[in-house]
Each structure stands twice: as C-alpha cells, then as structure tokens.
C-alpha cells in the first residue's frame, strides 16, 4: 500500500508517486522551499556605485521638480 503524507500547510494527502511526479515536473529551484535560500551577495564596483548614486540624485532632484510644478500649478 502506498505511503501517504500531507502537503505542507494543507489537509490534502500526497502519495509517494505524486511526490515524485511533482518533483520531476518542476526544476529544483522552482520549489517554494528552494526560494528560502538567499542568492549570494555581489559587491558593487566603483563605477557601478557612481552610476547608482548619480541616478538616485537625479531621481530626488526630478521629484523636487515635479513637486515644484504641482506647487506652481496650484497657485
């Protein structure tokens, strides 16, 4: 007789053949539990940091411009 246990967090049963079916249908890192693992951090290089900071300053400045436009339009 086939061994049956429950799906995590569910009241449904999953037979051992169904377990194999699920695992063979999905790539290993498609499983929900695999997503609990963090992807290794990458250290940003100097030019990358310069670009990211430049764009951050650009965005903040442009948001100020948008606020200014809203203010002038409201007057």
């Amino acid at each position: 007789m086939e061994n049956k246990t429950r799906i995590a967090g569910s009241s449904s049963d999953l037979s051992s053949s169904d377990q194999s079916w699920v695992l063979s249908s999905l790539e290993h890192d498609q499983l929900a539990r695999a997503k609990k693992h963090f992807i290794p951090r990458r250290h940003l290089k100097g030019p990358e940091l310069v670009v990211l900071w430049a764009l951050r300053v650009y965005l903040l400045f442009m948001m100020a411009v948008v606020c200014y436009q809203v203010w002038t339009a409201a007057r």
Partner: protein, 461 residues
C-alpha cells in the same frame, strides 16, 4: 519546517530535504500540461503551447494600458490630433519590448522575482531604495486607476462609491480561485476588453491617409514647449514603468516558466505590445476629432472625453469609450496591486504566489487587498484634481524608470545568476539607448519646468 501545524511532505533529493507545498503541486500541474503540449508536434500542439505559455507579457502590456495611460493617449489625440504621436507611441512600445524581454529571461533563468534578486544580489540598502520607488509609484498609480474607474462608470450615472465597490469585487473575485492559472485567464479575459478602443476609433472614420502619412513622416510635429513635453513624458510613462519589471518577472516565476519557455515568453511580450499599441493608437485616433473641432482637452476626465465624443460617435460609441476606461482601470488595479504583493513577499521571504491558499498566503493576499482598498478609499475623497494628477503619475513613472532599469541591466548581465543567458551585445545597446532616452526626456522636462524661457528661445511657446 512546515507551514501550519500539519507534518510537511518531504522528499530527499541530492542529500537535501525538499518540502512540497500546495503552491508546488499547482505549479507542477501547469508544467505537466506544458510538457505534454511540447512533446507533440504539429500546428495545433504549437498553438496549444502558445495558449499555455502566454500570459505575463500580454497582461503586463495591456495592464500598462491603464487608466492614466488611456487618459494620456486621449489627451494626446485631443490636443495634437493625428501626427507625431502615433509613431512615437509605437516606438515607446518597442522600448517596452526591449525592457520586458529582459525580465522574462531573468525570471526563467533564476526562478526569482525582481525585488528578491535586487535585495539578495545588491543588499538591502539598494533594495530598499528600489522598493520605496516601487511602493510610491504603485500606490499613486493605483489611485489613478480607481479615478479612471470612477470617472468611466460615472458616465453611466453610477455613484462613485458603487463604482469603487464594483472594481474591488472584481479584483477579489479574480483572487478567489487561489490558482495562478485561473487568475491569469480571468485577468486576460478582462484585459482583452482594452481592444474596445479599436471599434471606437473606427466609428470616428479616421483619415487613413493622414494616419499612414504620420507613420511614415512623423509629421506634423508638435511645438517644443512645456505642455508638449508633459504629454511626451506621460506617453512614455504610459508604456514603460517600474511596476512592469517587477510584475512580469514575478508572474513569469509564479507561472513556472523555465529557460525552455523563453522563446514563448518573448512571443508573449511582443504579442502583448502589439495589442497594446493597437489600443493606444486607436485611443489617439478616437479623440483626434476633438482636436479637429478645436475643443480643448485641458480639463477632460475619462467620462468627459466620452461625453465630448458623443456628438461625433453617438451614445453607443461614447459608452464603449467609457467602458474601455473602466476596463483599463480594473485590469491595471489587479496587476499593479499584485506586483506590490509579489515584491513585499519577495523581500520579506514570506510565501508569495497566486497559487497559495488563503491560509498560507495571508501576508501576500493582505498586502494585495489593502493596497487596492487604500487607493480606492482615497479616490472617494471629494475635490481631487484628477487629470493633472493622472498625467503627473505617468511623469513620475518615467523619472523612476532609469534607476530601475540600471538594476535590471546589471542583473541580466550577471553571469553568476544568468549563466549563458546574459544579454547579448545588441540587447545591451538597445537597453542602454532606452535608459538614455528616458533620462534625456526627464532632463528636458525638468528644464521646461525650471527654465521655460529656454524653450521660447528655441522657437517653442
């Protein structure tokens, strides 16, 4: 550790304990159907494979034809008529294809959402910056979606609170299946209604000679001034925005697409862009008669566009136009609130999938519904300046796009996570071009606000 109190379903693969969840079982069902279709040959199995794999691309493109976008296109047609903006809008959708294709590859190669990858790869400092950009942008855009719904249903005399209630009920009804596939098909069916702008455009009997002339020559050109730049930015913001990156990558992952499906992911994206371009151009054509009749579009809201068009296309055509605005708002409110919920789940590492039963996806569904409900409530505040807010939301989206694109660019060229699927040189050249165009458009807009006299010196107004 299992979720809930029941013992987890475990299996041992390569010395690692694997826990199977409800989400995995649902996704496995979807993958089995894809594998079965792929195993067969012939036209019909190819068509079935396409049917099974389309979704995120069409949804993201038609979802971006949202309330503020359709209003931007309507304002474009009413203010500038047939001319420069028809080929320009087609170009912006080409930019959207370049950008969105990268999210398909990224999602299929890593099986991770966009927010999750930024947090893991670049750390929480940069991760939170991108999340703040996304959160603010999504919430402002959601507000404008409910503005469109309220205005569109207002055309039929529906009171604002009932209009908002109808939208929320549809949004929650799509979620009730707790199944990505069903949610996707319901939302796709709703999104198909975006094409209603095409018959509306045909009812205005557009001059096809003028349309083809504008597509070939990009003429007549609009004057270079602050109003034109606002519309230019609003139209760009109507096609490329940060939520699209997050949504399509997360939906690609939730749908379970793998590297074998990338070709269909690309077809899905191009198909979505083609449909969205058709609807966008149709909206410009539909309101172009307002330009020809010298009617001002400065204070038109969604319903007022429909009312203004009624003498030209009749009550039926105007009703279709108003319903199109409602559809645009509803589909976008579904996709945008979903993108917020995906991103929240990804950065907090809580379960985040439309395959989750309510009990396992409490935080996911809570964020999704609370975002939508909060935005809907704000729209019920009387006296909101609607059209200006709507156009500015698109402008803000364009301004937030370059930083988001640089993260995408860095991720999709990261060989450690992408392997051989890193972007080829031509894709990098195109995406760099998109970043420059968006940044330049933002800078021009800034100059037009701070120093409008410069445009006057260049011959503008």
């Amino acid at each position: 550790m299992s979720v809930g109190s029941q013992p987890p379903q475990t299996n041992r693969i390569a010395d690692e304990v694997v826990v199977i969840t409800h989400e995995d079982v649902d996704r496995a069902h979807d993958r089995v159907r894809v594998s079965a279709a792929r195993a067969q040959s012939g036209f019909f199995s190819g068509a079935r494979l396409l049917w099974l794999l389309v979704g995120p691309g069409v949804l993201v493109m038609l979802g971006e034809n949202d309330g503020p976008s359709m209003l931007s296109y309507a304002a474009t047609g009413a203010k500038f008529g047939i001319g420069f903006f028809i080929p320009f809008v087609a170009l912006t959708f080409c930019m959207a294809i370049v950008v969105q294709e990268m999210t398909v590859r990224l999602g299929a190669a890593t099986h991770r959402g966009h927010a999750e990858l930024i947090f893991d790869r670049f750390g929480p400092f940069w991760g939170w910056f991108s999340m703040i950009d996304l959160g603010i942008g999504n919430f402002l855009t959601l507000i404008t979606e409910f503005i469109a719904i309220r205005a569109g249903l207002g055309f039929f005399g529906v009171p604002p609170w009932i209009a908002i209630l109808i939208a929320l009920v549809i949004l929650y009804a799509a979620l009730m299946s707790h199944r990505y596939w069903t949610w996707e098909r319901i939302t796709l069916a709703a999104a198909a209604f975006n094409l209603v702008f095409i018959p509306v455009a045909l009812m205005t009997h557009p001059s096809w000679h003028a349309v083809s002339h504008s597509l070939i020559t990009w003429q007549p050109l609009p004057g270079l001034n602050k109003d034109t730049l606002l519309i230019v930015l609003a139209d760009i913001g109507a096609t490329v925005t940060p939520w699209m990156l997050f949504f399509q990558q997360s939906a690609t992952v939730d749908k379970g697409l793998t590297t074998k499906d990338i070709r269909f992911g690309r077809i899905d994206t191009v198909l979505g862009a083609a449909l969205a371009t058709a609807a966008a151009v149709a909206t410009i054509l539909a309101t172009a008669p307002l330009f020809a009749h010298q009617m001002t579009a400065d204070n038109f809201q969604a319903a007022e566009f429909a009312q203004a068009l009624e003498p030209i296309i009749g009550r039926f055509g105007a009703s279709l136009f108003a319903l199109g605005m409602v559809e645009a708002g509803i589909v976008a409110s579904i996709t945008i609130s979903t993108s917020s919920a995906y991103a929240f789940g990804e950065v907090t590492h809580k379960p985040h999938s439309l395959n989750l039963p309510m009990g396992q996806g409490k935080s996911f569904y809570s964020v999704l519904t609370l975002c939508a409900a909060a935005a809907a409530a704000i729209v019920l505040i009387p006296g909101l300046p609607l059209v200006y807010v709507v156009l500015l939301v698109n402008v803000v989206a364009v301004l937030a796009m370059p930083p988001a694109l640089v993260f995408l660019f860095m991720l999709v060229n990261d060989r450690e996570i992408m392997g051989d699927l890193v972007s080829p040189i031509w894709a990098n050249v195109l995406s760099t071009g998109v970043v420059f165009i968006l940044t330049a458009a933002g800078v021009l807009f800034g100059i037009s606000v701070i120093a409008p006299n410069i445009f006057a010196a260049l011959g503008g107004k």
